[in-house]
């Protein structure tokens, strides 16, 4: 099977090289040359790559460990979904996936051009279109050829073991990657990078052929939007994965590889905005080509960062040999960009000049400058720590700082070692730029293209700003009241320390509201105007608006998504509560308006034995809230109870008629609830209970956890008296023997372990001040979170699995790791405000972006647009002086 894969990759490589040469020959030929006969070659390459990918996927599914890559990234116990995830978990599979997606996109390009050619052939000589197309195909295929070259000569996905048929079982996949989100994050991220190849090919083709019209923008816009949407989805899913998997409570850590993926997103977003200006006003033509080349180079740079280990990163899952190839390729791309753009620089002069700063086109330029500033900040922060490791760079920076200090009387100190740049620096520096972009997003859509209507526009800006300011003040007032409302009914409005983050948060809320108000205003006005004519319902009118002018109204929806995201950022900046404490079972911590109580810790193993976990059960209960009457009534039915009393919630006191009854209840219920969960009763005779651990596999993986199980039993001696219960263990045998002096106590424990009914108790302890009272926490109340620490059989390091309670206005985020050998748990708990808003806003961004780029309806409209571009192309040289 692996030989078949190797042959397929080799044929695909040779065929790609051949089609590149034929396409270039056709493009350089004075005759029209073959345009669509070569498209069969692209189709053949795509099918060959599909077949090779299927061979690789089949190797994973059939556990063919003769393949080195399969043996390194999977094992026979992995579930099917992770076997497919393993396809792109490493460098070789990522290359195969890249090649597969790119060849699929090149097929869609062939289809697009066939349609366009059919439309254009009646209007103008097909020669220029054919030439254009041949160059675009060649560029796309060269990009493909590079990755096929890497597969064939540097990092072959079908490499086998030379001396044997491979190991019996594979090494398995890094536990951090064994998460359903990791099944979708890399494909979206990689597809986003790959998809930028298509608009890039159009840009290069336009510059090579000398087509200085807007045709490339008109065609490439949809592909750029597709790439942007996929990239956005990749970034967001990556953030979500970091949030639920890494256990530090955030979604963006300014990790070098995260930053690398953000760089093309920043230029890609700027590109989408300036492309719209070029289509409307034939302006920003040079900027569009520059941004397109920059975006494409940055996608390669991001891949290079991921694979090169240039900067130590969370994503350093692979030790790569590809570094020099990527450097050469990037060098080539930079040179090509400089040469092509310089060559056509004069000819790319704007057809219409931007007259005033108060026009949409001018604001887009300002917006793009802000995006490029953000790019520079992120790039600087990412590369500086690595660059400053070099003594030469340190010396140069020291000279610059000394010069600055001398001229401006500054107080910068000399650098003695590498500079370290943390997330705080990024947050502090990017926040003002982000808010500036948000401000432009707010009032930018109100400003028209060209000049005119200045007074009406000013009025609209002022009006929407006032609405938003009022709404912001209202929201902040409600927030202050809710925050200050004490449990005893009084109101405390003292604000505490007011920091720069609070100012950013207030500004963020105001600007995000403004963005949403402006978008909603346009929807309201447009729906009303259209309804006056059509008399359709509001919802149908809204849908027809989206259908008829998807760019304008889709853009508004995307802006609303951005507003939701910024609301979430503002929430995080203003108020994030965190506690990091060590607590025992039954102890509580207060976090904001919630009390967290540790109910239990226990060991559990996954069915197929891939891992075992130490699970902590944490009850979240609103501070001070009484328990419902139904719960108390149920506890009144417990035999022997004379009184049920609400204590400090969620605790309830059960008063029994005598201490003897109370202890019997405690013994039986404790045996059922706690012992029955951790142990299996092996033998019960002559006052002795022989207990074996319920999850012996977990103790085999982590033997020290047996001490924690024993620690839990030490309560028994305190409650029932040291002489009444004796706990014994045997060396080398995880068996616990409980010896009872009291026959009733022995019977109560035995009953608890073998029979009895669920009385709705999650935890119980003896009241230290009154031996008639047993304090219990009822089961089935509040929200129980179950964070875990997992120990995988094939990996040394444990992984943290957090549990999150998502609410509309906040997330309760809990990570818990039982301390080794003791009965305490290290709990990290956070309240992260408005996190669901971030995911909802991001979903809107991606959904609308994909809908606009993939919707089938505008296909004919797309050709129509392109046809306008073709007409422009004919007169392009004439209008540009």
């Amino acid at each position: 099977m692996q030989t078949l894969g190797q042959v397929l990759v080799a044929i695909s490589f040779v065929l790609t090289a051949l089609i590149v040469l034929l396409s270039l020959r056709a493009a350089l030929s004075s005759k029209a040359g073959p345009a669509f006969s070569l498209s069969h070659g692209t189709f053949a390459i795509a099918y060959l790559n599909l077949a090779a990918s299927l061979v690789l996927a089949y190797s994973f599914v059939s556990h063919d460990f003769s393949n080195r890559y399969v043996a390194s990234y999977s094992d026979s116990s992995m579930p099917a979904v992770y076997l497919l995830t393993a396809f792109w978990a490493g460098e070789k599979g990522a290359l195969m996936f890249w090649v597969l997606v790119l060849s699929g996109l090149l097929v869609s390009l062939e289809h697009y051009f066939r349609g366009l050619f059919a439309q254009a052939s009646g209007h103008l000589p097909s020669f220029s279109i054919k030439r254009y197309f041949n160059v675009a195909r060649a560029v796309g295929l060269v990009a493909l050829l590079f990755f096929e070259f890497l597969m064939v000569f540097a990092s072959h996905p079908f490499e086998t073991f030379l001396t044997s048929e491979g190991p019996q079982d594979g090494a398995g996949m890094n536990p951090l990657l064994q998460n359903p989100l990791m099944a979708v994050h890399p494909p979206f991220q990689l597809a986003g990078f790959v998809a930028y190849t298509i608009p890039y090919a159009f840009s290069v083709a336009a510059l090579v052929v000398g087509d200085l019209s807007d045709l490339w923008v008109r065609i490439a816009r949809r592909f750029s939007l597709l790439a942007w949407s996929l990239l956005t989805a990749g970034l967001i899913i990556g953030g979500l994965w970091a949030y639920v998997e890494l256990g530090w409570g955030g979604f963006w850590g300014w990790d070098p590889v995260e930053n690398g993926a953000l760089l093309p997103w920043l230029t890609g977003t700027a590109l989408l905005h300036s492309m719209a200006v070029e289509v409307r006003r034939s302006a920003l033509r040079r900027l569009n080509h520059i941004l397109m080349h920059l975006t494409f180079i940055l996608t390669i740079f991001a891949t290079f960062l991921t694979r090169s280990q240039l900067i130590s990163s969370l994503h350093a899952f692979a030790n790569s040999v590809l570094t020099p190839y990527f450097l050469y390729y990037m060098g080539f791309l930079v040179m090509l960009a400089i040469v092509l753009i310089a060559w056509r620089w004069k000819a790319l002069c704007p057809k219409q000049r931007i007259g005033s700063l108060f026009t949409r086109e001018a604001l887009v330029v300002v917006n793009n400058v802000a995006f490029l500033l953000m790019l520079f900040i992120v790039l600087w922060g990412t590369l500086l720590p690595r660059l400053s490791e070099s003594p030469a760079v340190q010396s140069a920076l020291n000279k610059a700082l000394a010069g600055f200090n001398a001229v401006f009387s500054g107080e910068f100190t000399r650098l003695e070692g590498p500079i370290s740049v943390g997330p705080e620096w990024f947050n502090r520096v990017t926040a003002p730029v982000g808010l500036f972009i948000l401000a432009l997003t707010a009032f930018g859509p109100l400003v028209p293209y060209g000049e005119g209507g200045r007074r009406a526009v000013n009025r609209a800006i002022l009006k929407t700003a006032l609405y938003s300011a009022t709404a912001t003040i209202g929201v902040l007032a409600c927030f202050a009241v809710l925050r200050g409302l004490q449990t005893n009914g009084t109101l405390d409005l003292s604000f505490g320390h007011f920091s720069l983050e609070h100012l950013y948060a207030i500004l963020g809320v105001f600007l995000a509201t403004w963005v949403a108000v402006v978008a909603a205003r346009d929807f309201v006005i447009s729906v009303a105007a259209r309804r006056a004519v059509t008399r359709l319902s509001r919802l149908r009118t809204f849908c027809t608006l989206l259908r008829d002018n998807p760019r304008r109204y889709g853009g508004h929806l995307v802006h609303i998504g951005v507003a939701l995201c910024f609301m979430s950022f503002a929430g995080s900046a203003a108020k994030q509560e965190k506690k990091d404490v060590l607590i025992g079972v039954g102890q509580s911590i207060g976090l904001g308006h919630i009390d967290l109580t540790l109910l239990s810790t226990y060991e559990a193993c996954e069915g197929s034995g891939r891992y075992c976990a130490s699970v902590s059960e944490v009850l979240a209960w609103p501070k001070g809230q009484s328990l419902p009457d139904s719960v108390l009534k149920k506890l009144e039915g417990v035999p022997g109870v004379v009184e049920v009393r609400q204590m400090s919630p969620p605790w309830v006191g059960l008063r029994f008629s005598s201490p003897k009854r109370a202890l019997e209840y405690l013994a039986e219920t404790y045996a059922r609830v706690v012992l029955g969960r951790d142990f299996i009763l092996v033998n019960a005779e002559e006052g002795q209970l022989h207990l074996a651990p319920a999850a012996p596999e977990a103790l085999r993986l982590q033997p020290r956890n047996f001490h924690r199980l024993l620690e839990q039993l030490h309560n028994l001696e305190a409650w029932f008296g040291p002489g009444n219960v004796t706990i014994q263990t045997r060396r080398g045998d995880p068996l616990v023997v409980l010896t009872f002096q009291n026959k009733d106590l022995f019977e109560a424990f035995r009953r608890g372990l073998t029979q009895g009914t669920d009385e709705g108790v999650a935890l119980l302890v003896l009241d230290p001040s009154d031996r008639n009272v047993i304090r219990v926490i009822p089961s089935g109340i509040g929200t129980v979170l179950r964070p875990e620490v997992r120990f995988y059989t094939k990996f040394e390091n444990p992984t943290t699995e957090v549990d999150i309670w998502s609410h509309l206005f906040f997330d309760l985020y809990v990570a818990a790791a039982p301390a080794s050998g003791t009965n305490t748990v290290s709990v990290t708990a956070m309240i992260n405000p408005l996190m669901t808003w971030l995911w909802a806003g991001s979903f809107l961004l991606v959904f609308v972006g994909l809908l606009l780029s993939l919707s089938p309806t505008p296909k004919s409209a797309g050709y129509e647009l392109a046809m306008k571009g073709v007409a422009e192309m004919q007169k392009g040289q004439q209008t540009c002086s």
Partner: protein, 38 residues
């Protein structure tokens, strides 16, 4: 077994399609070349 069959059929179908396109490509390239000579 079913999984094996699905993959084998998928690989076979992709290879057939690739071969068909290679044949078509060379066929139509020759045709274009002939037309050019005429």
């Amino acid at each position: 077994m079913l999984v094996d069959m699905v993959f084998v059929l998928g690989i076979a179908a992709s290879l057939t399609a690739a071969l068909a396109h290679i044949v078509k490509m060379f066929g139509s390239t020759e045709q274009v070349a002939r037309e050019g000579q005429e």
